[in-house]
C-alpha cells in the first residue's frame, strides 16, 4: 500500500462543482491514496441525504452552448431567463447519462466504499442551522484544525 495522502476542501454546492472533489477522491482511493474531504459552506450540500444539486447558469460566461456544429459561450442574458436553472440542470443530467458519466450519488457512494473520510464543517452546520440527520451516515464533523491535522501530511491538497 502506498502511503500517499490527498486532502480536499469542497466549498461549492452546485451539480457541476460536485464532480471534481468526488471524482478525484474516488480515483485517488482506487490508486491507494488515503483521502479526506472537508466540506464547508455550500459544499455541505454534497453531504445531504437527498441531493438537490442544480446547475447555476447565472453569471457563468464559460457555459458552453451548441449552435449547430459549433460550441459557443451562452450569453449571460439568456442564462438569466426564468426557468433556465431547472432546464439546464435537466439537460446536464441527461447529457451526463448519455455520455456514461457517473451520477454524483454514485461517485459519493464509491468514495464511501473506498473509505474516503468525509468531514462536515461544524461551524457551517451551526451557521446554516442544519440538523445532523439531514446528512448521510458516516460523515464526521470537525473544524479547521481537524482538516489541518490531516492536510499537514498530505501529498496533494486541493481547494475546490
Amino acid at each position: 500500500m502506498s502511503e500517499k495522502k490527498m486532502a480536499i476542501i469542497a466549498t461549492k454546492g452546485t451539480l457541476d462543482w460536485a464532480y471534481p472533489p468526488f471524482i478525484l477522491a474516488s480515483t485517488a482511493a482506487a490508486l491507494d491514496y488515503e483521502v479526506q474531504i472537508f466540506f464547508t459552506f455550500y459544499g455541505l450540500q454534497l453531504l445531504r441525504k437527498k441531493l438537490q444539486l442544480k446547475i447555476s447558469s447565472l453569471g457563468n460566461p464559460g457555459m458552453p452552448m451548441k449552435m449547430g456544429p459549433v460550441t459557443v459561450p451562452m450569453p449571460v442574458v439568456l442564462q438569466a431567463l426564468p426557468g433556465m436553472q431547472a432546464m439546464m440542470t435537466t439537460m446536464m443530467k441527461q447529457k451526463m447519462k448519455a455520455k456514461g458519466v457517473a451520477s454524483v450519488e454514485e461517485l459519493r457512494d464509491l468514495c464511501m466504499e473506498a473509505d474516503v473520510k468525509l468531514i462536515g464543517c461544524q461551524m457551517t452546520v451551526d451557521l446554516f442551522e442544519f440538523s445532523p440527520d439531514e446528512f448521510i451516515d458516516g460523515v464526521e464533523f470537525g473544524g479547521a484544525s481537524t482538516f489541518l491535522a490531516f492536510a499537514g501530511d498530505a501529498d496533494i491538497c486541493l481547494y475546490i
Partner: protein, 77 residues
C-alpha cells in the same frame, strides 16, 4: 489473445468509472491473476498506465481496435 482470469466490460463508461470498476474487479483476484478490461473512453489509455504505475499492478497489454480499448492488468503479488 492472451489468457485472463476475469473480464470487466467498462464500455460506455466515462472517467473515472473504468478505473474504479477495475480496482474493484482486481479485489476479487489473487496476486498474479489477470484482469481483462474493455473500454470505450479514450482517456482510459493514459489512465490505466497511470493506475498501473501508481498501484504496482502490471499493465501487460493496451490495445485499440475500432474505437474499443482492451487492457490486460496483472494483479501484483
Amino acid at each position: 489473445m492472451s489468457d485472463f482470469d476475469k473480464e470487466l466490460d467498462a464500455r460506455g463508461l466515462n472517467c473515472p468509472l473504468p478505473i474504479l470498476r477495475a480496482k474493484k474487479a482486481l479485489n476479487d483476484l489473487s496476486g498474479g491473476q489477470v484482469l481483462r478490461i474493455l473500454a470505450t473512453d479514450p482517456g482510459s489509455v493514459k489512465d490505466f498506465q497511470a493506475f498501473a504505475k501508481q498501484t504496482g499492478n502490471e499493465l501487460l497489454e493496451s490495445n485499440e481496435a475500432e474505437g474499443e480499448f482492451t487492457f490486460l492488468l496483472k494483479k501484483k503479488a
